[in-house]
Point group: C2
Chain length 153, copies 2
Amino acid sequence: MSCQEHFVRQLHERGLRLTPQRELVLKVMHQLEAPATAEEIYARVHALSASVDISTVYRTLDLFREFNLVATFDPGDGIRRYEHLGVEAPHHHLVCRACGKVSQVALEELQPLIAHLAATSGFVADTVALTISGLCAACYARDCCHQIEQIPL
Amino acid sequence: MSCQEHFVRQLHERGLRLTPQRELVLKVMHQLEAPATAEEIYARVHALSASVDISTVYRTLDLFREFNLVATFDPGDGIRRYEHLGVEAPHHHLVCRACGKVSQVALEELQPLIAHLAATSGFVADTVALTISGLCAACYARDCCHQIEQIPL
DNA sequence: ATGCTTCTTGCAATCAATTGCAACTACAAG
DNA sequence: CTTGTAGTTGCAATTGATTGCAAGAAGCAT
């Protein structure tokens, strides 16, 4: 089953409709080889059909996220990136708070934690789109006075 | 050493200054008994001194975050909450994507994961302010068709 | 105290993202 | 094919948050 067929089926399951706008955004997501901002995605959609509004792109990307067709993360600059799942295996993101570098972590590496949370509190963590902030190895080495201590009132 | 003294010392270490505005925001943070939005914090600061601008509140809260005086998280509504550390022990947040409920996880529970990341990639995760999205036990039970499958292109 | 340098502030403009609403349209039923 | 209805869109306004900049003030040295 193609991605588009899968998408149509998920739409139907929820009583939603396939529109030209949604097809265009899906097509653009397939062309992306790297995570992109909503503005970048909008630019590509706009090139295909100039009448599509950016708010429609945002709404469609939200829909894709609900359907787990895309994952989102914020590399720390406050601008959300959308990443098509299927291009790469689902993975989590480590974002360096100092240099902004984004590295990936395979799902499996977080499995013990996710299993632990499920066992202790019943919380089922999303298996896509977890973003962990911190310092990458290089920045940690540079910034050695990063003690995090408890402050008394 | 009081929180304020600690704050002044951290300011001096970076060549920054103690201003009435920063003292006010710190005072308001101490009065909070629950995480608050920037707007709520601004309202309290404004009540103490009407001339303080909201952009100053945002800048000051950013500073507090750098100093690990506050932690921030987004419970899923797109509005950031600021939480004074010291009122409660530092902790991570589990945010339910369906009902918005926020539960807390002690630092220790994530220690194995953090240690694992440090060992494999050298990435030092922040020990405050990690937010994990997912479904709480109740919503998971209700929403049973949450399969996250890999979509072929 | 006084002056000087550098940081900080308030203001307004801006940015990314969301939302209300009326016009429009996908699509199933007849 | 036609119709009806509920989902969808474009537009404009709005929201939460950030930023550029000139005026102002903290804090150090004299």
